[in-house]
Amino acid sequence: MKTLLALPRRLAAKIVGLAISLLVRFLTAVRPDWRGIEPVHRQRVYYANHVSNADMPMIWSVLPPNMRRTVRPVAAADYWLKNKLRAFVGPEVFNCVLVDRRPEARAENHDPMQNILDALDDGSSLIIFPEGNRNMTEDPLLPFKAGLYNMGRARPQVDLVPTWIANVTDIMPKGEVIPLPLICTVTFGAPIHVGADEDKDAFLARAADALADLAPKGERL
């Protein structure tokens, strides 16, 4: 019975994925700027700034479909398992790697970093938001959590690619219901790696600078 249902579910996930990427493209005309890398198959961790729930679908939509299959967003289990619809969209449409942010709610054997490393060992690329939470401040970035450093240290062969999502704050500010159909640009920078004798804080500062450098220049108008 389970195998009988698996095929239509996978088909439905494909269709929903296509619909989401078309909707995102129609609404925001989102476009990629491959400034530091080429859109080719290579194992990467795309780490991005995070201001809105629309961020992850934006990055996902600009990836060419053949790359999309092997790219898995790292996402919060408490958000994506809240109801049946999310549990379908998160794990099945986006193929998320779910991690639990709340230590008290974790199952005995749940180690978030182990889930992430397992996904990397399977050959997947990842999308992560190293700020941990949505940035509601005026600062361009919140301080990064240690996860990015730990990944870079444990799997040094994987490229860490800074990914800046521009304009999402204007498209959908917190508390607004109607998204504005402005043009969103996703900029991919040159990959970085953890240096041989680089400590955690120095690396995270370097990673944050590499990401902030991709933001459009000029004063806020």
């Binding site: 005309a29 043009i183 108008l221």
Partner: protein, 314 residues
Amino acid sequence: MTVTSTTAELLWLFIATCGLMTALTFFGEVLRARAGHDNPVIETFMTRVRSWWGMVILLTLALIAGKIGIVVLFAFTSFAALREFLTLTSKRKADHLSLALAFFVILPLQYLFVGMGWQTLYSVFIPVYAFLLLPVVSALRGNPDRFLVRVAETQWALMIAVFCMSHVPALLSMQVDGYPADRGVLLIAFLIMVVQFGDLLDFFFGRRIGRKRIIEGISAKTWEGMACGVICAALIGGLLAWMTPFSILGAALMAGLASLVGMFGNLVFAAVKRDRGVKDWSHLIPGQGGFMDQFDSVIFAAPIFYHVINLIYV
């Protein structure tokens, strides 16, 4: 369905344009066969020819579909242009509602009024009602930071991308003596063709014989290129006089005027783009940049063309 004479003329026009486009495509392929597939100038030219094919086919389908087709096509073009414009303007969270109104209420209403032919309404809706309403909505949300700049830029975006653009389909509601209403689609084809060919020939002659830049450092347009472009547009206008209610001389003059105004529009938008530090408005039309890049001259020419006809011929 009986084929009316207007539809038949549109089809002839389409066939002639396709002939021209085929010649351009063939020309590009010959160049490509000689120079190989990695010459950037030829590849840009071919990308543009492909985009032109798309535009010619879309526009012809809309013109044949008649009023609804035209209004819907230009409503979507306005939407794309407004999006490109508002992406670059100043805004705060306090403007969110007024910007949403601009996209989802004001734009559709303007095209509804144009579609219904309510001239008194579509002529004042954005310059009067939207002009006064949107700043109120922004003010009520209470952030005074750069307020005047924000509301002025939003209004400018609406005037250019929606109000001016909507004067192209508004040509359909024009009542010119001795010119059947269903021929309005030919008038639209006339306006777009003379303006776009004028731009193309301005570019061509500007490259060949252009010496004196019109605005140094902002635009590559030259006085020589512009003069040749306008004269060619006038000549083409004279040849296409059969599409219009004008005499041959009148058609040439109207075409020259539309092309001239359009070129100045192009200069204005070059200054706006330079101010905002962008080369193109967006990436949506391959080889051309954005919708605003493709239609900047038509946007400036349309209201002038519309009102001069109103002044002289109605």
